[in-house]
Structures are given as C-alpha cells and as structure tokens.
Subunit: 356 residues, 5 copies
C-alpha cells in the first residue's frame, strides 16, 4: 500500500510547487460533487453538474458543505480551487493522496488532511482513502480520494433531519462532525482487528503453524500502517484546539476535546495490539522450540533404548567359531533377560530425568 | 477485556456527540443511588427510590455524595444529568465504560474518570470497573459501572463515624478520598500480582514447562492492561494539583501530592514487574535451550559409543568364507577387548570435552 | 561508505580551524562553475573559465546562482570564498564532505549542508554527495562534492523557460527550490528501496535462504545511512522556517512548510521500512527454525520406525544354537507380521502427535 | 524485596491519610534516638531516654541533629512529630518504608526520603533501608528504618572532631553531608557489583553453565532495584538545588551541585552495568547455541561415517544361498578396502565442509 | 576500565567535600608542569621546577597556558590550587580521574572536564585519560591524568610558530583549541574502530566463529564506553556556547559551534557503529543457526537413506530355517535392486524437499 502511493511521487520530481499531478490510484471514474446548504431553518441538497455552480453558495450566510468524490480530474479541481481561492500548495496536496494527517492554516481557511479507513473488504486488509477538509468562514469542502462510499452518511442524515444541534452551529462544528465520523470509524476497524487478534491468540494455543506466523506478521504490518494514520491525527486535533483562528469558535473547543480524547483511545488500543502481537510472536517462537524439543526427546528415547540392544544382538550375530555363549542352553533366554534389563534401566533413567 | 469494551463502540458510530448509548457489559440489574449528606455536625444517609429526590441536596450547603451503581438505565442517568446540569458529552462518557482515566474541567464542575480494579476473583484475572466522579461546589457524584461492591466502604465509614477530618473538609477532599481509595486498592492488586510473580519465579527454577510460558504471557498482558489504567491516572492527579479551579482548595493540594506520590509508586511497581517478567521470559527460553542441549548430549554419547561397536559386531557377522579372524582361538575375546577399548576411548573423549 | 569519509578526517587533526583540506573521495577531475543570472525579465547562463569572473554578478540586483561541481581544487574554492566573503569555517565545511545536514547563520549569508542521493547505480547501493548551499542577499552558491550529475536540472529548466514563479521571486525561493529538488529525489530513492523491500518480502515467503538474510542486512544498513541524512534535514528546514533572518522572506515560509511536510513524509517512510525489515528478520529467523524442525521430524520418523525393526532383525540374526523360534515353520512370517505391526503402531503414534 | 514492602501496604487501604501504620519489616527491637548538638565552638552528644527531651534543642540557635534508628514504635514517632510540628502525611511516609526517594516542601521544613543501601552482607544481595530527613531552620531529623548501622559515622566524626567546615555551616550543610554520605556509599556498592560483573564475565568465557544464567539474571534484578533508588535521587538533589526555600542557603548550592554530579555518575555506572549484562546474556545464549552445534557435529561425523559402513557389513551378513562375493578369495579384504575408502571419503568431505 | 576507576572511590567515602585523595591509576612518576606564555608579539616556554613559579604569570596580561601532566602528587596540586584560587571541590574533581565530561561555572573561572582518548595501543583497546581545563581571565590550566603524551602538540606548534590566529585571540580561544584537539582525536579513534568493524564484517561473511562473537562483544563494550565520554561532551560544548560568562567572548561562539558540530558527528558515528554491531550480532547468531541446519540436513540425509537399507540387510541376515527368499536364485540381486530403489526414492524425496 505504502509502495503504491510512493511509486507515483517520482512523476512529480522537479515540478514547481503547486503543480497539479494526481498521485495515487484512480479509484473511481466519475468525479461527483454534492452540495448540502443549510441553516437553522432550511436545508437544500444538490448534485452539481457544472462545478462552477458552487460559486453561488460561497457568499451566502448559510453553511455550505461541498463534498467531492474523486480527485483524478484535474480540471474540476482547478475550478474548485479558483472558486474558493485555494493556494496552489493546497491543490497539490489534495492530489497527492499519500499524505499523512496534518493541519495547515492559510488565514482564510484551514486545510486538514485525514485518512479515512475503508471497512468493506472481507479479507481483513485495511484500505485507506485520503480526505481533505477545507474549513472556511461558512463553508466546508470535503474532497475524498474517490473510493466508493464514505463514513459521512450519519452526518448527512443529522443535517437533513435536523437531529442534534448541527444545523444551529457553524462550519467549524460541521468540520468537527466529519473528523468525529472518521475517528468513530477507527473504533469499528479496531473492533474487527481485535476479533482477529483474539482468534489468532486461540489458534496460537490450539494449533500454531507457519501460517500463524504470517498472520501475526500481517497484523503487525497493519499496526505499523494504522499508527502512521493515527499518531499525526492527534496532533491535528490538538492543533485545532490550540489554534487561535477566528474560524474555530470557542464553543466548538469542548467537542474537539472530546474527539481528541477518542483519538488518544484509538492510539492506546493500537499500542495495546502492538504489545499483544509482540507477546504472541514470542509465544509462537517458543512453541516451535518446545515442539522441536518434544520431537528430540522421542528420538532420543527410542534411539538410546534400541541402539545398545541392537549392538547386543549384533554381538551374538558374529560368526566366530569359538563363541562359548552360543552353545549354552540358556544363552538365548539370558540375552533376552539382559536386553530387557538394559531397556528397563534406560526407561527408569529417562523417568528420573523427566524426559518421558 | 479490551475487545469487549471496543465491541460495542460501533453501536455509536455516527451518532451526534452526547448521544446516550451504553457501551460495555451490563454488570448489574438494578441501578441504585445512595446519598450521603454530611457536615461537621450531622450526617444522613438515604437510598434514593426516585432519582429526582437528589435535587433536594443540590443547593444545601452541606456536602452531598451521591453514589450511583449501574449505568445501563439511561433514563435514570438523564435525570441525574438534568438535576446536576451535566453536559451531554459528560453523560456520554459516563456511559462509555471503556474510557481511560482523565480529567476535564467544565467550569461548574470537574469530570474525572477512574478505573477501579476488582479484587474478588480467585483466578487472578483483574476485572475493572469505570468510575466517573463529578466534583461540584458542594457535591460529589460517583457513578460506578455496576460491578457489585466497590473500594469506597472505608470512606463511608469515616464519614459516618466522623473519623479523621473528612467531615470538616469540603467536597474536594471527598473527591480526593475516593481517588485515594482507588489507588490504595491498586497496591492490594499489585501485592497479589507480586505473589504470583514470585511463585512463577520459583516454578521457573524448579520445574519450567510450557505452562510457565503461558503464565508469564498472562501476567505480561495484565501488566499491559494495568499500565493503561495507571499511567493516565498520574496525569489526572497532577492535573488536579495544577488546576486553578475554584473547586479545589489550596489546603487539598498537599493531599493530592500524597496520592500523586502513591500513583508514581504504583507505576514504578508495574514497570518493575514488567522488567522482571521480561527477564523471566529470557530465563524460560534459555532453560528450554539448555534442556534440548542436555537431551542432545545423551543422544550423542549413547549413539557415538554404540554405533562404532555395532559396526564392529556387523563386520564379524559377515558370512565370507575366507575370514581368518573367525577361526582364531582368541578371535572372539579379542573383539570384546577391541570393543571395550573403543568404548572407553569414547568416554574419555567425552569427559575431556566435558559432555558427560 | 561511512568509513571512507571518516578515514580522511585524520589528515586534519590538530590543524587550526578553517584549514582547507579536502576530506572525501575525489569524484571528478575538473572543477566546473556555472552561473545562472536571472530576473523577471532576463536570464543569462555562463560557464565560468576564470572563477574570479563571478565577482561581476555579486553586486548586481538580479538573482545569481553559481553552481560549482567538485571541491578538490582548493585554490578555486579559496577564490570563491574571497569573492563572496565566506568565513574560513564555512570553507572548511565545504571541503569536509562527510557532514550531516545542518544550517548555520553567518549574518550576511546562511550556510546549508544537504546530502544529495545518487539514483544512478543499478546494484541498488545508495551513493551520496554533499551539497553546500550559501544563501546571500541576491545570490545562491551551490557547491557539489563532484559526483557527475545532480537533481537540479528541473530547477534550471524552470528558470530558463520562466515556468512557474521562480524568476519573480528571490534568492530564498531559489534555495527552497534546490532543497525541494533534493527532497523530491529522496522519494524516488525510497520508491526503489520500496520495490526491493517488496521483492524481498516475496522471496522471504517463496524461497528464503542465507542470501535473504544478507539482503535484509544490507537494506537495514542503508536505512541506518538514510536516517542519518534525513533526520537532521528536518531540523534544517524547520530551522529555516523559524529563523528571523532578513534573508528569508515571509512569503517563502509557506513553501518551506511544504518541503518540511515532505521531509516528515520521507522520515515516516524510512521508519516504516525499518519496522518492516525488523519484522522480516523475525520471519526469516523463524522460517529457519521451522525448517530445522521439519528436517528433525523426518529424521525422527524414519529413525524411530526403523531402529526397532533393525533390532528385531538383529535378534533373529543371532547365532545361538538353541533358538526355538528359528525352527518354527511360521517363525519368519510371524516376525514380518510383528515388524509390520510395530511400524504401523509408530505411524499411528506420529499421526496422533501430528508429526507427520 | 519489593514484594515484602508491598505486602503490608494492604494493611493501610482505606485508612484516612496520615494514619500511622508501620509498613515494612521490623528491623530492630529498640528505637534509639541520639542527639548531636553543635555550633562553631561547642559540640555535645546525648542518647535520649525520653523522646520528649528533644524539645530542649528545638529552639536553641545551635544546630541539632536528632538521629532516630527504628520506626516501628509509633508512640515514639508521634511524640517526635508533635515536638517538631510534623504534618501527619510526613509521619505516615516515615512509617511507610517502601518509599522511593523524594523531596517535599512543607514550608517550615523540607521532607526528604532516601534509600540507604547496606554493604554488610557477603552473599552480595543488596539490602536497603529507608532514611527520612527533616531539614528545619536549625535542626535535622534523620529517621532510619532500623537496620543496624548506617553510613553516617564519618559525618559524626567530622562534627565531633571539628574537621572540615561542618561546624561552621548550617543545618542545610548537615543535610547535604548526610545525602553525600548515602551517595558515597553507592559507589562502594557499585564497586562490589563491578567485581561480580567482572568475575561473571570471566566465568562466561571460561566455563559458562546454567548457573551463569542465574547470576546474570540476579545481577539484572539488582540493577532494576538500584535504578529505582537512584533515578529519583537525581530529582531529589536537583530539586534541592532549584528550590527557593529559605532553608537552603546559596552557599550550599555548590555542594549540592557536587553531590548531583556524583548521582549522575552513579546512574551512569548502573546503566553501563545494565548494558554490559545485556551483552553478557547475548554471549551466554549464543555460547549455548555454539555448544549444541559442536555436539551436533560430533554426532553427525560419527553417525555418517559408521552408518554406511554398518550397512555394508549388514549386506554381507545376509544369508542368501547364492552370494558369489562370499566365496571370493579376496572378498573379505575387498570389503575392508571398500569400507576404508568410504570412511576416508567421508572424512575428506567433512574436512572440506570444515566440520571437523 | 570502569571498574578500576570505581574501585578507588571507596577510599574517599565519608571524607569531607574537597578532600584531596587521588582516585585512579598512577600513570606516570614525575609530575611535570610546562608554561606557555604568549601574546601577539611574543611567546615564551618554560618547564617549571618549582610549581610556585607559575604565580609570576597569573597577573600578567599575556595569555598563560600551564599544562600539568600527572595528578598523583597532591602537594603540587595544592600549590596550584592556592596560586590560582581554585575551589576545594574543583581540586577534588581534578584528582577523581573517573569523571564524566562536565562544565561548571565558578565565577572567576570555568572548570571543564574532558576525556582524552589514547591512540597508541595496538591491541585496539581504547585507553582514556581525564583532562581538567581551568579557563580564567587570561590563563588556561590543563591538568592531565598523567598518561604519557597528549593530543595538544599541534596547538603548541601553532602557538610557537604563530600559525593561524591563536596568538591574537584570548584564553577562551585557547580553551576552544584544546577541546577541538580532543574532539579531532575522537575522529582518529573512530576511524580505527571503523576499520575493525569493517574487518569484522568481512570475517562475519567469510568465516564466522566463536571468536567473531567475542570481537563483536568487545566492540560493543567499547561503544558503551565511548558513548559515556561523548554524550556529556555535547552538553559541555553547548553549555559553553549558551553561557553568559564574561570569560567567553562572543567571537569565540562561532568556533564553539564548529566543535559542537563535530561532537554531534562523533555521536552520530558512535550510534551508527552501535546499530551496525547489533545487526552483525543478528547475522552471527543466524549464521550459527544456518550452520546447525546444514549439519542437520547431512545427518538426516545419510541416516534416512541408510537406516532402512540396514534394516533390509538385517532382515535377510536372520537365521530362520524357513526363509524361502534365501534360496531363490535371484534373491540376492533382487535385494540389491530393492535397496537401490529405496535409496533413489529417498534421494528424489530430498531433492523435492530441497534438502540436498
Ligand atoms: Mg516539487
Ligand atoms: Mg503517511
Ligand atoms: Mg469515498
Ligand atoms: Mg466520536
Ligand atoms: Mg509516525
Ligand atoms: Mg467523550
Ligand atoms: Mg529478542
Ligand atoms: Mg459520535
Ligand atoms: Mg483505556
Ligand atoms: Mg461497583
Ligand atoms: Mg493512599
Ligand atoms: Mg498508555
Ligand atoms: Mg504519603
Ligand atoms: Mg581542527
Ligand atoms: Mg553524517
Ligand atoms: Mg554532482
Ligand atoms: Mg517537493
Ligand atoms: Mg541521527
Ligand atoms: Mg505539499
Ligand atoms: Mg489511605
Ligand atoms: Mg521504590
Ligand atoms: Mg540503620
Ligand atoms: Mg560525595
Ligand atoms: Mg524508575
Ligand atoms: Mg566533585
Ligand atoms: Mg565525600
Ligand atoms: Mg563516566
Ligand atoms: Mg597525558
Ligand atoms: Mg575540529
Ligand atoms: Mg550516558
Ligand atoms: Mg566545521
């Protein structure tokens, strides 16, 4: 995943800053733009056909949420950039879909990068989509990388049905709501991973095999990836809290503290999983050692019992003319007795050594 | 444990902030509410039947401690929230019983989350219950997740019997006393863990086995869990010390410093146990290596002594017509002498190599 | 690589500060100096034959970029030092080509050290070249260690063709552009390393061998080397951002923030690769254990089945006169039956133990 | 050690703060109190029979050092507390003898906790005793847990014999002298540990065995314990340096800096030992691997030489009627030649593989 | 090394601060004192016979460098202390030759402790000598522990021959020059270690053995020791930079920044070596595993091929009367065919498993 994103960065090497080149996989065909315009007493929803139409909403006092899905059509993005007066560096970052979460203050607006995790795939692999938020005075632009679907549906429902206080509050509260939706989704992902970790832990005890190692390894890699998305997010949210930008009202601070608290909890859980996986790796490795040990013991017991016996049999299989034992009447039973004594002696020795 | 708590977070994804959904296991059937109202010269105790009754105590100058056990009845909690004017985000956090310890200042009151560890179970597993404290001007609300029993009984006794200075001091001292009771309980838990660690250390020397590994692993996991409860607690207590809230009198500072000191000691002990368990894992793993080594040595000694002897016997078991040794009078005894010499030579070699 | 650079430091021990001794490999024969002088409305390019010529450009208001390739000709460097008034310590550092990235403020100019990574070699080894930047009021000196080629060509093209806004902005923007080009190149290097890491990961699963270990080891060493170049770079860029030097205009700050962001991303990727390589080492080591284990099992199965059988055969190979079984009519088939039973019993035992 | 201390904490759970319960082992029978009262021109020494007598010295301008040995007689301590006006929390901490080093400012006096290490035991185990120092305006109280003997004798001698400047300086200098004596003793302990580490290192090379592992493990545990005593001590001393308490004169600062420096050196040495012990564990573990490897080689060499030979012998021990080789005149010598060739071939193979 | 230094600390336990006891090995017989007195226009050099003579230089405006070699003659040091007014704690530290690098401001002079590494020994062991610098208004005292020779010769030469600007600048520049000489010497030591690391790396690939492990271990220990000398040095130099002592002129700051930069580079290299050595230890350990694995494979292949064959031979070596195969004409060749088939089957099986 990391590699794919990196791979296309080389297309941009040496271009002037602000060059608009799409970095990442093209995830959808059509770029769609939906507008949700609302105030305490109204709410209208429009799917834009011409992107220029969004200019209508820019200067109205109502809160406007423009949600764009897909970043590979550069012309569409350029129009949006002109319409909302975005800096070329912001435009560039929207297109570079391998960003780590960050927040940047451009005076008239805040630029926020988030990583939204997909929760669709059955294989358990985490897919990730970059979401850019532009928080202006009375608008929020959310630009998704383009994977189908998002985690914002509940926010839309709350606006449409006027549930909670979202329609009464400003654009900063909308931005908070979107960040909160992204973080809430992390909990769902973590629950799924938690189930996999638990399952793995049971397998580890009941039937560990080379496959177990690969499952531990995969989960560890996903944890490396998750950490990269989550640790910077903490700084993003605390950055919003501390910032003395006029764009974030004081009353929103309490909600940001709440989402900050959730972020800490997500980090805590990721770190707990990391610790648990490390412990599981230790368990796995020592269970292999244990098994080798057990196999060794059986080999040793069988070999050390029968090797002397075989030698005894060999001795009396020799063809010397002059071997008096061979003519004894009780020679053969005597050898049997000898062999049984040797065998029992060995077994007792092993019992004492606790090897059996 | 971690997983269970997480599991239910998904119920809440996308709900507006402050939505009251109970997250966690339902630990008790009935939600109970007890009021302890006291001042220097009086002390009354009531079990509330209707939660609205607590409003009586709110505005009285005496100190009121409302102790609620059980959070799954949302209506009861809503009434309490209205009665004491709690913010929806506080209400939400009370219901999310997988919080890490934290402190939040809401102006009129402080909201404190603690994790109270259970000390009942014989199996040694640590159970944990979330306790929310609301410290207002002249009241303390303690809302327990609902597991039977708590660690606050000694505090109740001190209030009832007017022991110590608790009845002379304010609500902040009561909050301190409750936090102190939670931390004191950590010492008891750590003593029990300390006994298990010590027992394990003896087993490790006397009779290590795969079971030992699992015990080490379990203790390590409990340490991961304990750390998560204890480290943030330190920040909670130092947060109370530093805070210039009118709710915490200066005279209480000295007691908070004391409980902070205890918290540090708890952390210190947890970290010591972690270090010791790491050392024990090393010991365990190398004791397996040592044992494999010992088994190897026996196999090697037996095999390398008898394999050549068996070959000698095999040689004289061959059926060649023309084997002069077979007809020698002292052929057979000579072979015995040869075999004994070979065996003794091998044994001396092993003695020199210190393998026997 | 590290060693080579270090090796020559001893030549300088005890010399007064500012002594000009070239430390490092001589990478090119001829020292070349190219001048790009430009303003909004013009752009001229000259290859200097006599280094003294550069004095012409020093006091002109147009922006002058003097790009020098090769540092082993000390006389040339001394002339440049005199021409631009460089401090002897700067001159010394230009010649010590094993510097870590740093920034130093000398009042009239900033001295910046970067490490430019080569991307030419097929073997995958990273070569590195020291680049010193001197940012003055209206000039930038870039002094490369001397390996053929650099990563600045796109910047030159942008100046020549007046693409982007580079001709409109000052020397600080030119310095930023050069740093940006160096960092952009890191992404290309990281892509290549990412491919090697991915390839290695596949090998690790399909066909791990001692060679795999050496590949992991080599990549780990390269990561150690990369970290040393990248971590200090972060401080360099953030140092430029924070610095209240008149040489860096406020408008450039936004671009420095962008390149800082890229630096963080490079560091992030390097750390991710490090974590992945550690995980791969664990996988490799346990795959060796697994293989040893598998070999052990085969040995054990074969040996423990045939050793008892061989003993049985040995018993009936003994030459005792009085061995009644030998005369039995069904003695021979009975021994076969016995041997088959023993063998089947062993196999069943192994199946139960899951060793087969 | 840790466990013992912890064990008794549970006696105190739930008691009001300042409850006087002795936590720890009772180390001595009689509680003794000695007073050293001195000024520049006099010095008197008294063994108190009634603890109330110490009140005489409290208000005199001369410096008074009350040294109490034993904390299990709570009544004695209560009287001291009343006499010097100590806070109940201080009294409590004096009795809790499992404190980590700390410093607390109570306005009229500073409360300092130290851990004094015993240097008597031959077994090498470190015993530890808590020392509480109360530094008032013109007195120092030192309350030792009660193990026989202390490290303060040289300080007493210096006071008695008026050596150095101790009688000319204040109570803060006396407190410094006591802390310095404790730290000086750490050096002695570390020297002893250093000898054990060095001895262990020699054993590790000459004759490593399971015992070596336990010695490494024990030293590691002692290092864990020492770290816990030493790291907080650094904060104690730097806390005294920074504090703007009237109790510490500026002229004492230079001496505190000196003892701080020693503390750092102690920490440095502890960390060095930790690093060395980690390295020794690695060496030990790989020396086991090496030995297993050596044993394996002998087994392999012997087995792979004789197993084919034994098979050859077995072939010519078969009883087929029609085996022409058996009737050949040179059949038997030919088999010997064959066997010798096979053996020599194997040996050469092993020489090439460097296994022999 | 560490141990030796520590060993003698116990001689001092309990002595009053400032007691002059020599701690460390006596490294030279005679204590020598050389004076270099210089100004822009003159330079005189004297070997002091009576140490009191140095008082002549103290109050002259010229810069005086008194270089003392050997600290075991306490009377000599006491005279120097009186002459230059040194604090007893400084005198004590000069004699305690196991100090870590530090800087202390005593108002009239700065006291600096450095560790000068020896570069003479062929065995590769690093020897270390403590150097104390006293930087006063117009003098520098350098007091070496006493090992023959030092790294200051180039500085002396520069003063004598008036090379560079050293004679034009003050005592602070002289102190800088001495520190710079010490740090320059670290590069030489690191080059030598780098060569040993590189050599070791080659051995690791070509012919690893138990000796390799000890070499890695020794280098790791030296790195532990070097870190202890180098990390505090960084703080010393940055301490000099930050200090607003009148003793350090602003113009010297730029040179201190240069030596600080070198210190960072030394630390960087030490850390790189540490990382490389860790990687080499991993390689070594897994090369042992690999070898054990290879030995196992040969044993397994030989044993599993011949053990069944030996059994077959054993079967037809049995002496049953009634064994029809024995009388078959082609019985013997048939057994040969069987045995060859079994052997070939085994070999094919191993080829498939890639064990051969
Ligand atoms: Mg670019
Ligand atoms: Mg990222
Ligand atoms: Mg989407
Ligand atoms: Mg949320
Ligand atoms: Mg990160
Ligand atoms: Mg919340
Ligand atoms: Mg490990
Ligand atoms: Mg929510
Ligand atoms: Mg938690
Ligand atoms: Mg409860
Ligand atoms: Mg307590
Ligand atoms: Mg945590
Ligand atoms: Mg206390
Ligand atoms: Mg130099
Ligand atoms: Mg470097
Ligand atoms: Mg170049
Ligand atoms: Mg860039
Ligand atoms: Mg670094
Ligand atoms: Mg960008
Ligand atoms: Mg208590
Ligand atoms: Mg402690
Ligand atoms: Mg004592
Ligand atoms: Mg001392
Ligand atoms: Mg600690
Ligand atoms: Mg000192
Ligand atoms: Mg002393
Ligand atoms: Mg040191
Ligand atoms: Mg010397
Ligand atoms: Mg230098
Ligand atoms: Mg250090
Ligand atoms: Mg330099």
């Amino acid at each position: 995943m990391v590699r794919h994103a990196l791979k296309k960065r080389s297309k941009k090497a040496g271009l002037p800053p602000g060059s608009l080149v799409h970095i990442g996989d093209k995830k959808t065909e059509a770029v769609t733009a939906n507008v949700l315009d609302y105030a305490e007493d109204h709410c209208s929803e429009t799917a834009l056909i011409e992107i220029e139409q969004c200019i209508v909403y820019r200067d109205m006092p109502s809160i406007t949420w423009v949600d764009i899905e897909g970043v590979h059509d550069i012309q569409v993005l350029e129009k949006i950039g002109q319409c909302f007066g975005l800096h070329p560096l912001v435009m560039e970052d929207i297109l570079n879909t391998d960003q780590r979460p960050k927040i940047e203050d451009y005076g008239d607006y805040l630029y926020i990068v988030l990583r939204m995790l997909g929760n669709g795939s059955e294989s358990g692999d985490i897919s990730s989509e970059q979401v850019s938020l532009i928080l202006g005075k009375n608008f929020v632009l959310s630009i998704q990388e383009g994977a189908k679907g998002d985690v914002f549906e509940p926010v839309r429902t709350r606006i449409r049905s006027n549930k909670g206080q979202i329609r009464m509050l400003g654009a900063d509260y909308l931005a908070y709501s979107l960040i909160d939706a992204v973080v809430d989704n992390y909990f769902i992902i973590l629950e799924k991973i938690g189930e996999r970790v638990e399952l793995l832990e049971e397998t580890l005890i009941s039937d560990p095999g080379p496959q177990t190692l690969h499952l531990i390894h995969n989960l560890k890699r996903e944890m490396i990836y998750l950490r990269k998305s989550v640790w910077p997010l903490r700084e993003v949210v605390s950055g919003m809290q501390r910032r003395d930008s006029a764009l974030i009202r004081e009353s929103t601070g309490i909600y940001l503290r709440d989402v900050y608290d959730h972020t800490i909890q997500v980090i805590d859980t990721v770190e707990t999983f990391r610790d648990m996986l490390s412990g599981m790796l230790d368990i796995y490795l020592s269970s292999i050692s244990n098994r080798t040990n057990a196999v060794m013991k059986v080999l040793t017991v069988i070999a050390t019992i029968f090797i002397p016996l075989t030698w005894i049999a060999g001795v009396y299989g020799m063809n010397f003319k002059n071997m008096p034992e061979l003519s004894w009447v009780y020679g053969y039973p005597a050898v049997w007795v000898l062999m049984i004594f040797v065998a029992i002696g060995m077994v007792i020795y092993f019992k004492i050594k606790k090897w059996w």
